[in-house]
């Protein structure tokens, strides 16, 4: 397994869904179409403990448990580039980019000792993992760890908010458990998407109106961009309902 890595700035990992910390999600609310993405993991998976800690643990009817990551997400179709990706394939907001992008290719939603496999480039990516690339991972430790630690710390600090959201959703939409159980049985795993408005309500966001005003034009533009593509109907529907809800919140005088 390769332990060397150098980013060649090919821009290929800047496509599709992007998990965000709560802080990054709100900071970039004028940029990304946001959704809450729930990814369940069955018992026995090696990430179970970490996912339980950062997300929530849900009891199923058959006495089994699911660990669920609940992540504010830039909810973008896999074929769509990040809205901040510039024409030269470089990040248009490099100095301000989300911690998820900074930490790539490492991924602090998983224990440090399992990070080596994340260095393997996805098909089509142009990451340099040759002998000339710098050593970045050794003895199950990340060598340049500032970004990894910063993202991990943010994830730990937001646990109370994520738990509060999980409790809220399970109380008011108990059918969510069945949906999570169902997608957890898919061979490659799956996800359930819930609305930003539910998260704003659950955590009592003090300035939901401002977030809504930032989200509204973003969602409306994604509504348009996904209108004619039948394979994007799920995304289209999400943007449409999100826009309606943000429209309501944006108008409220609170």
């Amino acid at each position: 397994m390769t332990q060397r890595f150098h980013c060649t700035a090919c821009g290929k990992c800047c496509y599709g869904q992007l998990p965000l910390t709560v802080n990054d999600a709100f900071k970039h609310a004028d940029r990304f179409p946001l959704a809450m993405v729930w990814t369940p993991l069955r018992q026995g998976g090696k990430d179970f403990a970490t996912v339980s800690q950062l997300g929530a643990t849900i009891k199923l009817a058959n006495r089994k448990e699911l660990a669920v990551l609940i992540v504010p997400t830039a909810y973008i179709p896999p074929s769509f580039p990040c809205p901040a990706l510039a024409a030269d394939n470089l990040c248009g907001i490099h100095a301000d980019k989300p911690s998820r992008c900074r930490t790539m290719p490492f991924y602090p939603y998983r224990q440090e000792q399992f990070q080596a496999e994340l260095l393997k480039p996805q098909p089509g990516w142009a990451c340099d993992t040759s002998e000339s690339a710098p050593l970045v991972f050794a003895d199950k430790k990340i060598l340049f760890r500032e970004d990894f630690d910063a993202e991990r710390q943010e994830l730990e600090e937001q646990i109370p908010q994520i738990r509060r959201y999980a409790d809220y959703m399970l109380k008011y939409t108990p059918q969510l458990v069945d949906n999570l159980a169902k997608v957890s049985l898919k061979p490659k795993g799956g996800q359930v998407v819930t609305s930003l408005s539910s998260f704003l309500t659950a955590i009592r966001h003090p300035n939901a109106q401002q977030i809504a005003r930032q989200q509204l034009p973003v969602l409306n533009s994604y509504v348009e961009e996904t209108a004619s593509e039948s394979s994007l109907v799920e995304y289209h529907r999400h943007y449409l309902s999100g826009a309606k809800e943000m429209q309501y919140l944006a108008q409220q005088a609170r």
């Binding site: 108990p174 609305s195 408005s197 309500t201 009592r204 309902s241 809800e245 309501y248 919140l249």
Partner: protein, 164 residues
Amino acid sequence: MTLCPCGSKLDYAECCGPIIDGALAPTAEALMRSRYTAFVQRKLDHIERTHAPEIKDDFNRAEAERMAEECEWRSLEIRNATETGDTAQVEFTIKFRRDKQDRVQTELASFRRENGEWLYVSGDLNPKVTQRVVSKVGRNDPCPCGSGKKAKKCCGTTTELEQE
């Protein structure tokens, strides 16, 4: 007259209308009916106003507004209603159409009376089906639809309600 959307066969102005406008609901069932009617009419202030204090901040009004807009409301059926002092439970089934699909949802809702005002406390979606309780209703008994009127003046009337 305008038939009340709640299905009571009463005039809206004699049924949910006044409650939505702020009058006290005489029974938990009457409040339940008015909340359904408020959804039909997209008057969600009434929904928000009749939540118990402990769930007020949990109300996702933006989502509720969207649902009220997206759903075509078909009917409300009260399956059972029990009041014990200042607490009550109402089991009801609503039919509506959304995303081009007909949907049916049953809920067992709990209510509490505070300072004479009935408030919605919680709801259990699709509870285990309880047998519908049918008892004989005397002509002078309160009408089982929860309107607060005598049965003979309400659902038990032998004269057809005038249309228009």
